[in-house]
């Protein structure tokens, strides 16, 4: 490549706007080397002829600079035109948005707000129609829709109101029927108590007393067999009296007619009394009853009759369901704010699968039903009812053929008084 080629290339680059390329070519070492070589050659031939080569070349360089400057100006002008166009388009867009918003979007936003308001329950809201165009039609349709909605809602409210009134009447009738039914049930229960207490207890008392008189020789001396039969009659009748009393207690607990009459009671003496009553049954099976009482607990504000029933049931169960020569432990202690009664035995235990039914009325576990041990299935139900009424708890742990431990707790502060019509029979 020659100096002319390089310069031609630079000029072409300027022509097509590649100024950097042209500048690069003209700044290159190669160009200046060519130029120096060319100048040296020329100087060699023209100097003797008296020609100033630097002046000649400076004219051509000036022409080139002028061309470059013109080109730069042209490019700048081109940029101005492009920026101007962009600004014009942006301004036009902003103008269009403003116009759209004023003419179209604002009414739509108002309709949208109105729709939200109607959906929130403002059914009386209507839009002001300001134009005859499509937006105006939309507002008109919106108003029609709101009116229809208002009419529908008013109709539904009327229907609901009528139905509610009818429902209330029906409910009142049903409640009336329920109340009447409840009263009938209560009356039936009360009648049962009266029947049980009078109609059953009176003949039971009659059997008791005549059996007693016979046994005492009131109708002549009895032989051994007669005495044995009479004892069976008496014992059977005593069981019947016990069952009637228990059923009466259940009825009183369920009807809520039982009395709670707390008085300062020595709970240790109460427990000793119950254990003493149980002595014949325990001694008959050679079951030993071991006691551990906290003497500090002696005086408690409790209904002695109710706590006696609780102790009777738990201790008699423990003795009944313990095999011969077994053991029963009775402990009374305190734990923070509670009295804790524990009755433990090493007897038959409660089958795992029936543990959840043990407090159910009339329930007896399968393993005890297989034995000849008598029971009503009411004792634990009564214990639970009494203790829960006293604000206490009854719980147990048991393992079949290993034994059972019942734990009863109730507040140390004692029981609250409750008016009623019947005491529970112990």
């Amino acid at each position: 490549m020659s100096l002319v080629d390089l310069e031609t290339q630079a000029i072409n680059s300027v022509d097509v706007g590649e100024l950097e390329t042209a500048q690069h070519l003209l700044d290159s070492k190669k160009y200046w080397d060519y130029k120096a070589e060319y100048k040296a050659g020329l100087d060699k031939y023209v100097m003797p002829a008296g020609v100033d080569l630097d002046s000649a070349t400076s004219i051509s360089t000036k022409a080139l600079d002028t061309a470059q400057n013109d080109l730069l100006k042209l490019n700048r002008l081109k940029s101005y035109v492009i920026y101007g166009l962009i600004a014009f388009i942006l301004l036009s867009l902003i103008f269009l948005i403003i116009v759209l918003n004023r003419v179209l979007l604002s009414p739509i936003a108002r309709i949208r707000e109105a729709a939200n308001s109607v959906s929130s329950g403002n059914l009386d809201l209507r839009l002001k129609i300001e134009s005859d165009d499509e937006v105006g039609e939309l507002a008109h349709d919106f108003n029609n829709m709101a009116s229809s909605l208002k009419k529908s809602v008013t109709n539904i409210e009327k229907i609901v109101s009528t139905r509610m009134a009818e429902l209330e009447k029906t409910n009142a009738l049903l409640v009336g029927r329920d109340v009447t039914k409840e009263r009938e049930i209560d009356r039936a229960k009360t009648e049962f108590i009266s029947l049980a207490s009078h109609q059953l207890r009176t003949p039971l008392a009659s059997i008791n007393w005549y059996a007693e008189m016979l046994a005492d020789g009131g109708a002549g001396k009895l032989n051994k067999t007669q005495k044995q039969y009479l004892d069976e009659i008496y014992a059977g009748n005593q069981r019947m009296v016990g069952l009637v009393n228990t059923l009466l207690n259940v009825s009183r607990l369920e009807l809520g007619t039982f009395i709670v009459e707390p008085k300062l009671t020595n709970i240790i003496e109460l427990a000793d009394g119950v254990i003493l009553e149980m002595k014949p049954q325990a001694e008959g099976k050679e079951v030993s009853v071991i006691t551990k009482f906290n003497k500090d607990l002696a005086e408690l504000l409790i209904d002695p009759n109710l706590i006696r029933i609780v102790l009777q049931n738990l201790i008699s169960n423990a003795v009944k369901y313990t095999r011969e020569k077994g053991k029963v432990w009775v402990a009374i202690d305190k734990d923070k704010e509670d009295v804790v009664i524990t009755v433990k035995d090493n007897g038959l235990g409660i089958p795992e699968a029936q543990k959840d039914k043990i407090f159910t009325k009339l329930f007896r576990a399968d393993n005890v039903k297989k034995t000849a041990i008598e029971g009503t299935g009411l004792g634990l139900y009564i214990v639970k009812s009494i203790i829960e009424h006293a604000g206490g708890t009854v719980s147990f742990t048991s393992q079949e053929n290993k034994g059972t431990t019942f734990t009863v707790t109730f507040p140390l502060k004692g029981m609250e008084k409750k008016e009623g019509t019947r005491e529970l029979d112990s």
């Binding site: 207890r201 009176t202 008392a205 009659s206 007393w209 009131g218 009296v241 009637v244 029979d425």
Partner: protein, 122 residues
Amino acid sequence: MSTVLVVEDELPLQQAIQLELEKNGLAVVTARSVKQAEVLLKELGKVDAVWLDHYRIGEESGLDFVAKMKNSKKWQKVPIFAVSNTASADKVKTYLKLGINKFYTKANNRLEAIISEIKKSI
């Protein structure tokens, strides 16, 4: 011989009570209602103790009879034993407030035990 007035409407029970009281050396007069009992008191002029059932003895209950006796100077010191299967707890309380000696539930007590207490009071 001391006399016991037995006010009891159940005849088999009345008979058993009478037999047992007599066996214990006491004279017995029986009534089935409060009205009958009042007539007997007037006729006899004296009784040493009263066995009194509460329920269904005529139109008046045992309580009415106790109230009348305790309001009478002549009869107020006579020991009264109320024996009933039906008196509610508040009725029992009223009996005791009126001044009876003791209240028994028939089915829960031996005849001998009640009569023993009556004898002690005479």
